[in-house]
Amino acid sequence: MREDQIRTILTDLNGGSADIEASALISTDGLIISSALAAGMDEDRISAMVAAMLSLGERTAAELSRGNLEQVMISGTQGHVLIIHAGNDAVLCTIAGKQIKLGLLFIDASRAAKAATAILR
């Protein structure tokens, strides 16, 4: 039931913009909770890397006195990866193309993370 609800959240997030290519909800220990990833993406490796990135972002923010971490953004020539908390125990990873409006990406991902948090609570 919860799995279906989370899956729907991810599908809706992906469907909200043509530039959002994939998304996944991951535990802070690096385990996949649910994913809507493109074929060929290794969800086990991605989940471990994403959880590690979030932890590293938190530690860096704290070390540099930047307060609580809000997001980790990775930008490459082909697009962006946005990593944000979904509650204390989960991480939402959103993978988007280069053309996406970043404001839209932040809003959509935050909304999805909030919805997932409510389900995981």
Partner: protein, 183 residues
């Protein structure tokens, strides 16, 4: 030898490698033969280290001090008492090596050197062949136990540093280590 550890991994190692009360009495029996030979073994070991381009810089300028530590460690293996204090001392060796930035290769090579030197040393100095054979089995098991404990300490200290600096949990570290070769 009496195991005094609640750590299931140490318990398994102890059980499988077969250390028992006989080993402690064997060590006590042969210590009189072995103790006088330890400084020579240590000298030979450090002579070898001095000829290797990776290990020579690690010992340069402090060979005598390191030899004393090595001799003391080797002698301690024959002093009895293989319980919690013994286990803790071996683990501390690993911690000290990490702090001194001495790589695990150093310990592995050191143990291998000792294992390689043992048969000749024991055969030449223990007249009774059965005693020499028993002593060799016991010492090989003991060196393996020491290396296991020291290596674990290396791993633990390095993992703690990694987890502390990256802010990752033991579970996530385990995932990162095992999830795939590309990570």
């Amino acid at each position: 030898m009496q195991l005094q550890s609640n750590d299931p991994n140490i318990q398994t190692f102890w059980h499988v490698c077969g250390l028992d009360k006989d080993d402690e009495s064997i060590l006590w029996t042969v210590r009189g033969y072995i103790l006088p030979l330890i400084p020579g073994l240590t000298d030979a070991f450090y002579e070898t280290l001095a000829t290797d381009p990776q290990t020579a810089p690690l010992i340069e300028g402090r060979v005598e001090q390191l030899k004393r530590t090595h001799v003391a460690w080797l002698e301690s293996l024959f002093n009895g008492g293989y319980g919690a204090d013994f286990i803790r001392r071996q683990q501390q060796i690993g911690e000290v090596h990490v702090r001194a930035k001495i790589p695990p290769t150093f310990v592995a090579a050191s143990m291998s050197f000792l294992r390689g030197a043992l048969p000749d040393v024991l055969a030449a100095n223990i007249a009774d062949k059965d005693d020499a054979k028993a002593a060799m089995g016991t010492l090989l098991r003991l060196f393996d136990l020491c290396q296991f404990l020291i290596d674990r300490s290396y791993d633990g200290t390095l993992s703690d540093g990694l987890m502390g600096n990256l802010g990752i949990s033991p579970a996530l570290l385990a995932r990162l280590q095992t999830v795939g070769k590309k990570i």
